[in-house]
């Protein structure tokens, strides 16, 4: 690595952004987390966080975020993989993103209709048996959450698959590897950066989902995001809301460290370790 860093002034806007819109709000959040609802300095918010209600909520929030991320990867990976093999692949990729430009609340209302007792899904089911309650279940929550996050997972995976050198496949095949082995030993490791990027863009936001926890799961699933929302907007207990946010940020840093790259270096040329 003999190239020197780019000139500093390229970075000025970015660092300015970090200071103004990241560090300042975080400082504010941490500051508020030490005040109770009547404005006195206290550590009670932190004690409160470890009380049973919030602790249970944290665990269940993690569990759902984990499920959502896992299923998103399972669906997004093959999609991205096959998309790279289509003729107008860039166009198809754009078509994956376009649905996400329609307002989320509207789409949630549409899902209420689709999954409803008299909606199209139940119409199909009713030809086989009796109507099912789909709304307000774990299934509908996870389905819609995965729906929301799919483009955020497909994009980075697609980009890492797209640039793979086809010669690699041939080499692997020439060496006698089956296509599964090729995938597991050659392709997947090379797209790991894309997957990690996707996890960062899905798992962390999944912890703080809030619109659909109410609309689609009827508050039967409660995430950390819902709780913060409530504390800020309903109870107006900014202290407790900030405390939960502080923990959310800590969890995020942990996730970042787990999915962070060990060392910089080309995956293509520098995977020699």
């Amino acid at each position: 690595m003999k190239t020197k860093a780019p000139r500093f002034y390229y970075m000025i806007p970015y660092y300015l952004w970090i200071v103004l819109f990241v560090v300042a709000p975080i400082a504010l959040v941490v500051y508020y987390s030490f005040f109770n609802i009547t404005g006195d300095f206290t550590f009670s918010n932190y004690q409160n966080f470890f009380s049973s209600v919030y602790f249970r909520m944290t665990l269940s929030s993690f569990w759902y975020a984990f499920l959502v991320t896992l299923i998103t990867i399972a669906i997004a990976y093959p999609t991205a993989y096959w998309l790279t093999k289509t003729k107008n692949k860039q166009l198809w990729l754009l078509l994956i993103i376009i649905p996400s430009w329609i307002n989320l609340l509207l789409k949630a209302y549409a899902f209420i209709g689709i999954f409803g007792l008299y909606g199209p899904v139940n119409k199909v089911i009713s030809t086989f048996g009796s109507r099912q309650q789909i709304l307000f279940t774990d299934f509908s929550f996870i389905f819609v959450a995965v729906y929301i996050f799919i483009p955020f997972m497909i994009l980075p995976i697609f980009n890492s698959l797209d640039k793979l050198n086809p010669a690699l496949f041939d080499a692997s095949r020439d060496l006698g590897a089956s296509s599964w082995v090729t995938f597991r030993r050659v392709i997947f490791p090379l797209t790991l950066n894309g997957v990690k990027s996707g996890i960062q863009a899905v798992f962390i936001p999944a912890l703080s989902l809030f619109v659909i926890t109410r609309l689609i799961s009827g508050n039967k699933v409660i995430t950390l995001g819902t709780a913060i929302e409530q504390q800020f907007l309903v109870t107006q207990n900014w202290g407790m809301g900030s405390t939960i946010a502080v923990f959310l940020i800590l969890f995020m840093i942990i996730v970042m460290m787990l999915t962070g790259q060990k060392d910089r270096g080309g995956a293509i040329s520098g995977k020699t370790k």
């Binding site: 190239t3 780019p6 860039q90 509207l106 890492s160």
Partner: protein, 268 residues
Amino acid sequence: MGKLSKVAKLYLALVFFILYAPIFYLIFYSFNSGGTMSSYEGFTLEHYAAVFNDTRLIIILLNTVIVALLSSLIATAIGVLGAIGIVFLRNRNMRNAVLSLNTILIVSPDVIIGASFLILFTMVGVKLGFASVLISHIAFSIPIVVIMVLPKLQEMSSSLIDAAADLGASKRDILTRVIIPYIKPGIFAGFFLALTYSLDDFAVTFFVTGNGFSTLSVEIYSMARAGITLTINALSALIFIITLLLVVGYYFFNQRSRQPVETGGNKL
């Protein structure tokens, strides 16, 4: 297309079907004379007429698009330069720290971002309205751009840059001729997801807007208490169709205009 197996085609078809199902559902009801999304009574275009008669709604829509495009563009520029800077940071701890800071806005719930931006703006004395909304959208879109650009940067071989430097390329040339073309797919990915963030945001915009400036999301969310009208469905249908036409049109236009020059490689 011939390379795809039947299973693959079926799978992709299913994914696309599910992605578009709720949108078609919305569009279907935009033609409902019944007035709600619950029971379909008959065909009408009155909701479309209502869109064109509602000047306020159209102004809001145009403002929404302006904010989305402009904020995504600026956020992409800042984010790309930021990501390049992060990758070139030599100290690993430093790099991780900056990356964590970068991603905090993605994890922070919108209410917190909105409330803290509002405090920030009123402290500095920025007048709430277009400028404050634009700045906020830029701010919360930057991290997703960085996250989308990073994997491309990380897989770029450093020998590529070294080679360019050895050949006498200046720093500016390395940036514009080597790095940026290589990470272009990441840049576009970041831009499009920034658009997604901006178009969908309600909470942050609500807090930092004022003086009559509004976006479509704010409008839709505040309608929820009294019920969302089918005018909004009609409007969304129009947005969707126009977007689709623009994207597909632009793609094929681009495709045709450069076919003789380029030989594959970097598409889009």
